[in-house]
């Protein structure tokens, strides 16, 4: 083995003095440079969750439906019919900032591998995006590049992207967020796990060849950005969606039989992470010889091979004697596949290279023995932020202008520019397309539909992390209810700043507390997720941005609730508690007044539970012609969104509301637990009875029809916007800003 690594080298690789000492204790000797590199990657924040692990333990993770909770490559829940939905969300923030197209694309590639390693065929994708304002050319390049990269990868894979979200705030200018979500379907009794048992079983490396790309990716994602990091930047990983498509087909074909013991994708920290995790989960060891790893470049040393983050690779643990099956299937798909070692019984990860032992480390030392901190958390002095009420604001005079401005604002304009670049129809199962509250895919040959949504509001969380966390969960569940679906499981991606700062840790723990309260109230278990810390560039931290992905089922997908107005003459109802006129941290404040302050609305979890039950019952009974949840932009935004259907058809509407004081709160307030429904006149009575039974207040707020969006307040018309003009503003503004 090579010489011992020095403390200086350890510090330079991101480890602390204490961690370096601990490694020495675990090994009984100092590590050599290759081993140091392996520890540095595996003990990085990104791989070890050292600042977050204790706090994540607070999430509720159980329900009768949960098959696989946090800990595996992805979570899995039972959706009936003998099927499981396997899903997870993951961040690719730092790579996207370095190279938006490839960074975002490889984020999609990575999350898809997490799904098909579980034996599930991916059937849907979503993504949650945050960028700085589009007024800056750099942000436009990041935004358009990331969207094109996501499109390129998902479209090539033949998996529809059916939902997601995009927001713009100053704080993301130097630190954009790209969180990618994927969902797959597997037979509930054939979920693959990444556990290497059975010593002697061969270990294979399959897929792409290993190159020098992305070495240090894990540690990069665990450090704040500065100019020095920019200079150290690793070779960017280039995605190869074609190769991944073949890899997916080959793996899924192989998984039909029983030749495999375990499968683990290679993501962060590449071979190091996949071998040590697969072994330590199974209580085993692994011995590999790097000379057998197919290499794309010449002269790679052990350190480089062990830490390469070349994309589109998988580690397989094969049942002894079944190697021929692996060869046959990978040959069919023209993919490299080679045995590189075997499972051992000694618990060690032993790495040979060119006839020498290049590293020998207990697998558990890399994984389970990684440090875990309880970092100090401290509430910042500005908290709580003062409430904002209309009395603090100049009163708008021209409401036509206000509604038009908001309909075309970065916050509220249609995301068509984005989702039309994503193939959202491939697989011919998409029954609710993007542009609604949640996307829905059906399962051919069954009545079952799967609904999904991805939500988070960094502005809310920045002003009140606990409320923001709860509201993200509440909104996601509300979005599912608006299509008639029942939430069955959730995943989450926690995008935060530098955890070494006590106020960031406070944001983190508060957000988790809020999320937990809402998850418990709504009875939704967390089955996995991802934490992205160090979203800090040049000393500026992003808004704390938890993103929640919730998956729901529709037992009868034909009973889904439509997301757009269905027929002229239908009546409009606002369901949910009165007094939802909160304006703190709202879209209106931001887009009209240029302010992001104030306190977000107080979550009302009981009301959310009742609203959800009401919407599902209304959907099942066929009483709702359409539904939209109220969120950013309140009632006015929900109305605008409901006008323009994805097939190009459109219907006008007239909102009629009563308002004693200022109008802003009534039209644009973001109080939770509310939805806008359209209803056939003949069903109105039954709907009212249902609302009464479920304890949900219901107010008549107008009707569908006409060639304009009209708003009448206390009987007098204050808004009349013709549909052609409004359609252009709503549907085309984001594209115009992006391509300016």
């Amino acid at each position: 083995m090579r010489d011992a690594a020095t403390l200086e080298a350890a510090l330079a690789s991101g480890l602390s003095t204490e961690e370096f000492r601990q490694i020495g204790t675990l090994l009984g000797r100092p590590p050599n440079p290759t081993e140091l590199g392996m520890f540095s990657a595996m003990w990085s924040e990104h791989c070890s969750y050292k600042s977050s692990r204790r706090h994540l333990a607070r999430f509720p993770t159980e329900s009768p439906r949960v098959i696989e909770g946090p800990g595996e490559n992805a979570g899995a829940v039972d959706i009936g019919h003998g099927l499981a939905a396997v899903f997870k969300v993951e961040s690719h923030n730092h790579p996207t900032f370095i190279e938006p197209f490839q960074g975002a694309a490889t984020g999609v590639g990575g999350i898809l591998r997490d799904i098909f390693t579980m034996g599930a065929r991916p059937v849907a994708l979503m993504n949650s995006l945050r960028f700085g304002p589009l007024s800056l050319p750099k942000n436009r390049a990041l935004f358009t590049g990331a969207v094109a990269g996501i499109a390129n990868y998902g479209n090539s894979m033949g998996i529809p992207t059916i939902g997601g979200e995009v927001f713009f705030e100053d704080c993301y200018s130097l630190n954009p967020l790209v969180n990618a979500f994927a969902l797959g379907i597997a037979p509930a009794d054939r979920i693959f796990r990444a556990r290497a048992e059975a010593p002697g079983s061969p270990v294979w490396c399959v897929g792409s060849k290993t190159g020098r790309d992305g070495i240090h990716g894990a540690s990069m994602a665990s450090a704040a950005f500065d100019e020095e990091a920019e200079a150290k930047r690793p070779t960017v990983q280039v995605g190869d969606p074609f190769l991944e498509k073949l890899l997916m087909e080959a793996c899924l074909e192989l998984m039909q039989g029983d030749a495999l013991i375990a499968v683990q994708d290679m993501g962060a920290a590449g071979l190091t992470c996949s071998t040590s995790e697969v072994a330590s989960r199974g209580g085993a060891g692994v011995e590999i010889d790097l000379d057998h790893v197919a290499q794309r470049e010449t002269g790679m040393n052990a350190y480089e091979i062990m830490l390469s983050e070349s994309q589109e690779r998988m580690l397989l643990v094969v049942r002894s004697g079944r190697e021929a099956e692996v060869t046959r299937i990978f040959d069919k798909w023209d993919l490299d596949a080679a045995p590189i070692g075997s499972v051992s019984g000694d618990g060690l990860l032993r790495v040979r290279h060119q006839g020498q032992v290049a590293a020998e480390v207990p697998c558990r030392a890399l994984t389970d023995d990684a440090p875990a901190f309880d970092r100090p958390a401290a509430r910042p002095s500005w908290w709580p932020s003062p409430e904002v009420t209309p009395a603090d604001l100049p009163e708008p005079t021209d409401w036509n202008a206000v509604v038009r401005e908001l309909a075309g604002s970065p916050e509220l304009a249609s995301r068509r520019f984005v989702y039309e670049q994503y193939d959202h129809m491939v697989r011919s199962d998409t029954v609710v397309r993007p542009g609604g509250d949640a996307g829905v895919v059906r399962i051919k040959g069954k009545e079952l539909g799967i609904a999904m949504t991805l939500d988070g509001n960094g502005r809310y969380t920045a002003r009140d992390p606990r409320r923001g966390g709860a509201l993200a969960v509440a909104e996601a569940c509300r979005n599912l209810a608006a299509v008639g679906a029942t939430p069955v499981g959730a995943t989450n991606c926690l995008n935060f700043g530098n955890p070494e700062r006590p106020e960031i840790m406070w944001e983190f723990t508060e957000a988790i507390a809020g999320m937990t309260e809402a998850l418990e109230a709504l009875a939704v278990p967390i089955t996995g997720g991802n934490v992205s810390f160090y979203n800090e560039t040049e000393g500026q931290n992003i808004f704390p941005t938890p993103v929640v992905g919730v998956v729901g089922v529709l037992d009868d997908a034909t009973r889904r609730i439509a997301q757009h107005f269905a027929a002229a003459g239908d009546l409009l109802f606002l369901a949910g508690p009165e007094g939802g006129d909160a304006l703190g941290a709202s879209a209106f404040l931001k887009e009209h007044h240029g302010r992001t302050d104030g306190r977000p609305p107080k979550p009302d979890l009981d009301a959310e539970v009742r609203l959800g039950a009401f919407l599902r019952a209304a959907g099942a009974a066929g009483l709702a012609a359409s539904a939209r949840d109220l969120s950013e932009g309140g009632l006015a935004a929900a109305a605008v969104e409901s006008l323009f259907a994805p097939d190009g058809s459109r219907l006008g509407a007239e909102l009629q509301v009563e308002c004693a004081g200022r109008l802003e709160g009534t039209l644009l307030g973001e109080g939770p637990a509310r939805a806008l429904l359209s209803v056939r006149p003949g069903d109105a009575e039954a709907l009212a009875a249902l609302a009464a039974r479920e304890g949900v207040p219901l107010a008549a707020v107008g009707s569908v029809g006409g060639d304009a969006l009209r708003i009448r307040v206390n009987g007098s018309r204050i808004v009349s916007l013709d549909l052609d003009g409004l359609a252009d503003v709503f549907r085309n503004s984001l594209g115009r800003m992006a391509l300016a």
Partner: protein, 231 residues
């Protein structure tokens, strides 16, 4: 009874949709055929479905012609049986020389997935033989390279010979610029060969064959294809 072959290249991703649509619409059997097959014996028609054959690397459809299955596919076309392409399948048939023209990148330079409206221009093809010219249909597109190009003289000949079978049009049936999702010359969305047995289009009838998907106009194309194989 007609037997349909649905070809699968590495990177193809709409084979399941096409298979399902054919079976659901025509009630006839269809089978997936892997690109390494050297024969299409026993099939009455072949469909080349959408996706990203060979990743669409180099050019969309550009690398598929090296597959063994292309030889029997060309024979099938020469024998007068129906050969049909959808989206990437269109590009593959062009690259193989079975259909005229070539696809450039969309003028927007972006992938585009949305519903478009099509006008049937001629019923002299396996995809349109059951449809009256002038009929309009709605179905999704999904492509980045669907910008149909051919030299002026080629284009003139195609038009004169009624080889253009579909054009992008607006709700009123007009082939306007606004209705053109990719910049195709003459709003061309689908063409056939001179003999009238090979045809393709960029939009996806395989994504519009059930109400649940938001439209059923795609059924008419599969019904036509079925009728063509019976004649």
């Amino acid at each position: 009874m007609a037997r349909f072959a649905v070809l699968v290249f590495p990177g193809t991703n709409c084979e399941g949709d096409v298979l399902h649509a054919i079976e659901a619409v025509t009630g006839q059997p269809a089978a997936l055929v892997w690109h390494k097959e050297g024969s299409l014996d026993g099939f009455d028609a072949a469909v080349v479905p959408g996706g990203f054959a060979h990743g669409d690397y180099l050019r969309a459809g550009g690398l598929a012609r090296f597959s063994p299955v292309m030889e029997p596919l060309i024979e099938m076309a020469e024998s007068g049986r129906a050969v049909v392409g959808i989206c990437n399948g269109f590009q593959i048939l062009q690259e193989a020389g079975l259909l005229p023209g070539a696809m450039l990148r969309n003028v927007s330079l972006s992938y585009v997935c949305r519903d478009v409206r099509l006008r049937v221009e001629a019923n002299s093809s396996p995809l349109t033989c059951g449809l009256a010219p002038g009929t309009t249909l709605r179905m999704p597109v999904g492509h980045a390279e669907g910008n149909f190009r051919a030299d002026d003289d080629v284009l003139e000949a195609l038009e004169a010979d009624e080889q253009v079978i579909f054009r992008y049009c607006d709700d009123g049936g007009e082939a306007s610029d606004a209705a053109n999702p990719n910049g195709s010359r003459n709003n061309i969305a689908g063409v056939r060969n001179a003999r009238g047995n090979v045809a393709a289009l960029m939009p996806h009838p395989d994504r519009a064959y059930e109400e649940a998907l938001g439209g059923v106009d795609g059924c008419r194309l599969f019904e036509s294809l079925h009728r063509f194989t019976e004649s």
